[in-house]
């Protein structure tokens, strides 16, 4: 089930919330667990078994790691847990990619498995791994209650599109959550914000990208190509961060406190900065469980650069089983390494606007790789962006699209900055009685309007994609 759907908003969510809040405290986890299974099974009924298997496997591994703590067996169990998780992920996500690559290299014709990718598998396997690893390291207590553990793995708010919640971040909340009306109210507003970002901004700008990228490259103008890339940049940001907002909001309603996943990445002044603001839960996962164990920056510069390369190859391939995603990761590794070596110091010396433009340029190019899966197609598109093999600088169709989307683009640009947030904060801390009264009205009126507007765009859904089926 996806959040931006009638089934979720007007069937699942109301029924679930009534049951959840009506139930006595000791029943809440069982309702959350069963609700999450239904949420997942709606559309993926078979793979729910895979998720349950993964849950059971890591629950047992955790118990055993705890039992054999300090003995070599514990290490063996940790490795076994990681192998099972990566095995499941590898089998369902990367088999066909590997087979295709082998076939391509050796001219063999091993048949593809054609397995549909289980939704959210990359998110929940990473979550369960964080549990067994933390358990082994002694950074998280073993979870003896299988229901509490099941809730952690399957919890519907962040199940299908993150954020990747580390076990120790929610360890206590799994069995003790205090209902708090302010948190619930915050959760509602946060959820609606995310829904509006996804439905009003991402989906609509996605249409612009689809229209431009659907053309033959020779018919795209330079302006059109940039317009398309910007549209995609906004689409993926508002879609992805919108999902995270919805997850964080739903979590808050249930009494969970999930980590933030995005912090205005498009105001970043460098790629290093960008990755501190983009999909934070994934980069911090890789940082903690790959980069630092590999030695991080403690084993000299060459080793650090190698570690960066490894982490970003993995980051790339995490986003999808395809060469373009690997390339996408390597592209970032390249600039991160350059920034470590020289670029970072140069950027610091220059006015911030240069850093901003440089970051946008690198990121826009990266989205072309990311969005266009065939390498040749991505290259053709990039050529057009830089004036090669294009239909010209601009033409009437491009200008028409620019006019059609100008308001939406401006809104998106504003929404991608902390401006609205800062305004809200200023209003929140204002004390004049008139300002307070205005705030009281606005904090109800704006979410209500955004909710109704989003529902209208869902009901009249000409375009409402789920972008993470490859993650």
């Amino acid at each position: 089930m996806v959040f931006s759907s009638i089934t979720f908003l007007f069937r699942f969510l109301p029924i679930f919330m009534i049951l959840y809040f009506a139930a006595p405290r000791r029943m809440k986890n069982i309702i959350l667990f069963l609700g999450s299974l239904i949420f997942y099974a709606w559309g993926e009924p078979v793979y729910v078994l895979l998720m349950l298997f993964s849950t059971l496997s890591d629950y047992i591994h955790g118990r055993l790691i705890d039992k054999y703590r300090g003995k070599t067996a514990a290490k063996g169990l940790l490795i076994s847990s990681i192998i099972i998780n990566l095995g499941v992920l590898g089998f369902f996500k990367y088999s066909d990619f590997l087979i295709g690559t082998v076939n391509g290299l050796f001219g063999s014709s091993i048949p593809l498995l054609d397995l549909p990718l289980p939704i959210g598998i990359s998110f929940y396997t990473f979550q369960t791994m964080s549990y067994t690893i933390d358990c082994y390291r002694g950074e998280a207590k073993v979870q003896k209650n299988i229901l509490d553990f099941g809730v952690y793995v399957t919890m519907f708010p962040q199940l299908i599109a993150g954020p990747i919640v580390k076990y120790r971040d929610v360890e206590e909340q799994l069995h003790l959550r205090k209902p708090d009306i302010t948190a619930i109210s915050y959760g509602c507003c946060r959820f609606i914000t995310g829904l509006a970002k996804k439905v009003l901004l991402a989906n609509n700008l996605g249409l612009l990208w689809t229209e431009i990228s659907g053309k033959n490259p020779s018919e795209i103008t330079v302006l059109g190509a940039w317009l398309g890339a910007v549209a995609y940049a906004f689409q993926i940001y508002f879609d992805f961060s919108g999902y995270s907002d919805m997850a964080i909001g739903l979590g808050a309603m249930l009494g969970f406190h999930f980590p933030e996943n995005f912090k205005y990445p498009y105001v970043a002044r460098s790629i290093t900065d960008f990755w501190r603001r983009w999909h934070i839960s994934l980069s911090s996962w890789f940082r903690e469980y790959v980069y630092i164990p590999l030695g991080g920056n403690r084993r000299g510069l060459p080793r650090q650069l190698l570690n960066i390369l490894i982490v970003w190859m993995l980051t790339g391939i995490w986003h999808g089983a395809g060469w373009n995603f690997l390339l996408w990761g390597l592209w970032f590794a390249l600039w991160l390494i350059l920034e470590k070596l020289v670029l970072g110091r140069i950027l610091k010396a220059l006015p911030g606007v240069f850093g901003l433009m440089y970051t946008w340029l690198i990121v826009l190019v990266s989205w072309v790789f990311f969005a266009i899966e065939s390498g040749a197609g991505a290259l053709d598109y990039l050529y057009v962006m830089f004036g090669q093999g294009t239909a010209g600088l601009y033409d009437s169709p491009t200008l028409f699209l620019l006019l059609e989307y100008r308001v939406l683009l401006v809104l998106a640009a504003v929404a991608a900055t902390p401006l609205v947030h800062l305004l809200a904060q200023a209003l929140l801390h204002a004390t004049g009685s008139v300002t307070v009264a205005i705030r009281r009205v606005l904090e109800k009126l704006i979410p209500a309007m955004l909710l109704l507007a989003s529902v209208a765009y869902i009901v009249e859904a000409s375009y409402n994609p789920f972008l993470y089926f490859r993650f």
Binding site: S396, L403, V407, E460
Partner: protein, 377 residues
């Protein structure tokens, strides 16, 4: 005190959110389903039947989502809300319809959708037809986006139908072609296209008729646009349906003369009537169906005029429906074929009717329908 206040207001926010979701959910589930949306002019998704198989492969869930969305409570209002927001966002094209100047809705036809191999195939079949029946004339009407260009939003792009006309002329010879561009462009300030529908008006059809008469060399009957009689002033057409905003409706007009004489019309070899017009449609949404009872595969018309035994075989789309009553007096019998509803062999059907030179052949489409629908076996 402030803390208490904050809690109170937080509670109000939560209550508001819960209320919106709950009220719509309850009303939505209680409300009965509709089969058809008048405003959107389409059949809505119905409650899917579940089976173990369809649930397990996820198709039931997908169909359920379509169903829940299509049948969502007061869907029409949501659709209208969305359109209004699109307009607020300064969008000029909504669901393939330009919000043009002077209260016009004009259908969008993008070049990339109509250029290409399809055109070659259509032209090829058209050439075969005119070679077999040398008395054929081809009249392709440009759609509003090619004529009312001044009303389109700036930088709007349209498929250039005058280029299609040039290709048609090149393919089948100019002598077979009635080019409506000059006359319609000349009269573009007049009410020749409906503002809310993709058809031309009776006045538009009338100018086409004059052009046709010039081509075939008949003196045109003395219709006077001053005499046009308004039979409906509440026509909200197909383009309006897509946008679904309050708009000033169109008028449907006829030349009174065309309705004076009783004719004999046989629809699909079955139902007989005595008028070109079906007033029952004027009560309904699809008012253009007033002309020749909407769409039929085959219509036979005995005009009750004396025309020296001349007959006409028309292969056409709905644009012709408002033209046929005007040009009817020039023929004793008219056979009207709509290829969309006819699966048999075209030539074997035509050979039954087009027996000698007294029977003329007319291909009458708008350029877009021609590209979309003109194909035969």
């Amino acid at each position: 005190m402030k803390l208490e206040n904050d809690k109170l207001h937080a509670g109000m926010t939560v209550a508001l959110f819960a209320l919106v979701l709950l009220v719509f959910a309850v009303v939505d589930m209680a409300e009965s389903d509709r089969l058809f949306s008048q405003t959107e002019n389409r059949i809505l998704a119905q409650r899917p039947k579940w089976s173990l198989e369809s649930v397990l492969d996820g198709s039931y869930e997908r169909e359920y989502e379509n169903y829940a969305t299509d049948q969502f409570v007061s869907r029409d209002t949501w659709v209208m809300l969305k359109t209004r927001m699109d307009i607020l966002l300064q969008k000029k094209v909504i669901k393939g319809v330009y919000l043009a100047a002077d209260g016009y809705l004009i259908e969008q036809h993008l070049p990339q959708e109509y250029d290409g191999e399809l055109t070659d195939k259509r032209l090829d079949q058209l050439r075969q037809l005119t070679e077999r029946y040398p008395q054929s004339l081809v009249m392709l009407a440009p759609t509003a986006d090619n004529i009312l260009t001044e009303k389109l939003p700036s930088h709007a792009v349209s498929y250039d139908q005058s280029r299609l006309m040039e290709r048609v002329k090149g393919q089948i010879g100019e002598e077979h072609v009635i080019d409506l561009f000059p006359t319609l462009l000349e009269h573009r300030e007049e009410y020749i296209y409906y503002r809310t529908d993709h058809h031309w008006t009776t006045l538009g059809a009338y100018y086409a008729y004059l052009e046709w008469a010039r081509k075939v060399g008949y003196p045109p009957r003395d219709y006077d646009p001053q005499d046009l009689e308004t039979v409906s002033d509440s026509f909200l057409g197909t383009l309006h349906s897509r946008i679904n905003l309050p708009m000033e409706p169109d008028d449907i007009q006829i030349f009174p003369r065309t309705n004076r004489r009783s004719v004999k019309i046989t629809y699909d070899f079955d139902r007989e009537t005595s008028s070109y017009y079906e007033p029952s449609y004027l009560e309904d949404k699809n008012q253009y169906g007033y002309f020749l009872d909407d769409n039929h595969a085959f219509v036979e018309i005995e005009t009750a005029y004396y025309a020296d035994g001349k007959e006409l075989f028309i292969i056409k789309d709905s644009y012709a429906n408002s033209l046929i009553p005007i040009l009817a007096p020039h023929y004793e019998k008219i056979y009207v074929l709509d290829l969309r509803y006819y699966n048999g062999s075209l030539f074997s059907l035509m050979d039954q009717y087009v027996t000698d030179d007294r029977v003329s052949v007319l291909v009458m489409y708008n350029c877009i329908h021609f590209l979309e629908d003109f194909s035969y076996r």
